[in-house]
């Protein structure tokens, strides 16, 4: 986990009373790499993402964004980061263009008007520029949230189930777009329950179970390494019988 990583997570732990939500998670994301964060509900994925976003303080461990300690240099670290999540849509009472302008200013985006135009076009949002975000369909809202996530050309992009509400054609388009974006200097941390998508997009996956990293590897070869045929089978096994995988 040296300084070349866009994200280094070291010994991250989060405890709520007697409940250990995340238990010593460590991993890294390199530039140009898409890392899938997988696991059943309650495995600790969103808790981990919230800690990486700085909205949840770890009980122990640290998060480094391009070598910047999130706890000490929060603003500088978050200027290089952005995210989109199904549970964090843009405020519905502002138009798409207004939301992009407000968040563009929060992220200190240079030549903001030009950047907004680029993103409206790139995410097919030009017809909805002056529509209130709250009246858009869920797919359009997702595209608006993704446009916001790309505003500052982040070096670290966190996507929590980014295609969950999209139709298959749009989802494929978004995957291709994110994949090509990550081909540059950006590292992506991607969570999804769609194993087909994970296999198509991710260079590496981390399986979380009960707050710990259970498995890590290439999504194309990882199932066979554990005597299973597909990533989905591996996911189900990891969710139901994590101990059998740990023993291996």
């Amino acid at each position: 986990m040296d300084g070349t990583n866009v994200l280094s997570v070291e010994g991250l732990r989060k405890v709520y009373g007697a409940t250990v939500a995340v238990d010593g998670v460590s991993f890294a994301v390199r530039p140009g790499e898409v890392v899938g964060l997988l696991g059943p509900n309650g495995a600790g994925k969103t808790t981990t993402i919230n800690m990486v976003l700085g909205v949840l303080e770890p009980t122990a461990g640290r998060v480094l964004v391009e070598g910047l300690d999130l706890a000490r240099q929060r603003s500088r670290a978050l200027e290089r980061t952005n995210f989109a999540a199904v549970y964090a849509p843009l405020p519905g009472n502002l138009t798409v263009a207004q939301n992009l302008r407000v968040f563009g200013m929060l992220y200190g985006v240079a030549r903001l008007s030009q950047r907004i135009e680029e993103l409206l076009e790139e995410f097919d949002l030009l017809p909805f520029r002056d529509a209130k975000s709250g009246v858009l369909s869920s797919g359009e809202q997702t595209r608006a949230a993704l446009a916001k996530a790309m505003l500052n050309r982040p070096h670290l992009l966190l996507l929590d189930e980014p295609t969950a509400s999209l139709d298959p054609a749009t989802a494929r388009e978004i995957r291709a777009r994110m994949r090509s974006f990550a081909a540059g200097e950006c590292g992506v941390l991607w969570t999804s329950h769609n194993m087909y998508e994970v296999e198509e997009v991710c260079d590496r996956v981390l399986f979380l179970s009960k707050g710990r990293v259970l498995l890590e590897g290439d999504p194309k070869t990882l199932p066979s390494e554990h005597g299973l045929r597909t990533l989905e089978e591996l996911f189900i096994t990891a969710a139901r019988e994590p101990l059998t995988l740990e023993r291996e």
Binding site: Y16, T46, L56, P91, L94, T95
Partner: protein
Amino acid sequence: MRAERTAAVVLRQFYLLRGSPARVLPLFAWVAIDIVLWGFFTRYLNTVAEPGFDFVPALLGAVLLWDFFTRVMHGVTTAFLEDVWSRNFLNVFASPLKISEYVAGLVVATVATSAVGLAAMLVLAAAVFGLSFAAYGALLVPFLLVLFLFGIALGVVGCAIVLRLGPASEWFIWPLPALISPFAGVFYPLSALPPWMQTAARALPPSYVFEGMRAVVSGEAPPAGSLLWGAALAVLYVLLACWLFTRVHRQAVRTGLIARYSAESVS
């Protein structure tokens, strides 16, 4: 602090106001109703009271100043609650925005919204009831400033309460000015209060404003010393309120409340 990020918080409030008459109307509608109600009441009192005492500046002036204070307090909390209502916490607090920039944005937005309310009240009070603050000139500025600062302080405390206790606790914060008003001596001198209430009143900056205004209205010299003390108290409360909000925000980050307010409905 980066001015652009503070400006973004202000711009969001401007967009909300521009896009919604339902948000613009309360900026001056309720205060206008207060001025009309108290304006006619003072007119009536002037007709039945002994000649020589003018109720218009004493009562209507007090209503106007108190409404300005309430408007400031509600301005800060409403701007904050917009982020609560639209579940925008995660988007806002996962951005590079610092807490100091966020609070500064709420305050700057409140300067604009409270100025609208104040202008509406001044125009109405002068045009319909002949209450002209122009006679007091620049003398009015320190009085308004103390009320503005204390309104900001109370508004930031209201935000901290909602952040700590959850969105449903907004019902605690709307009546805060009403809870303070008996101690502030808005309509009566502090000497009318029992001793324990007078002691409490001395800790409240508005009490110095209303005592001072009463002195000015009755032709006495403005009590510079006590007004200065009220201003010092108001500044202290602003600092304490910002400290409290920062503490509560840290606690919310520690316990995960920021993320939960975005992800689900929390009572």
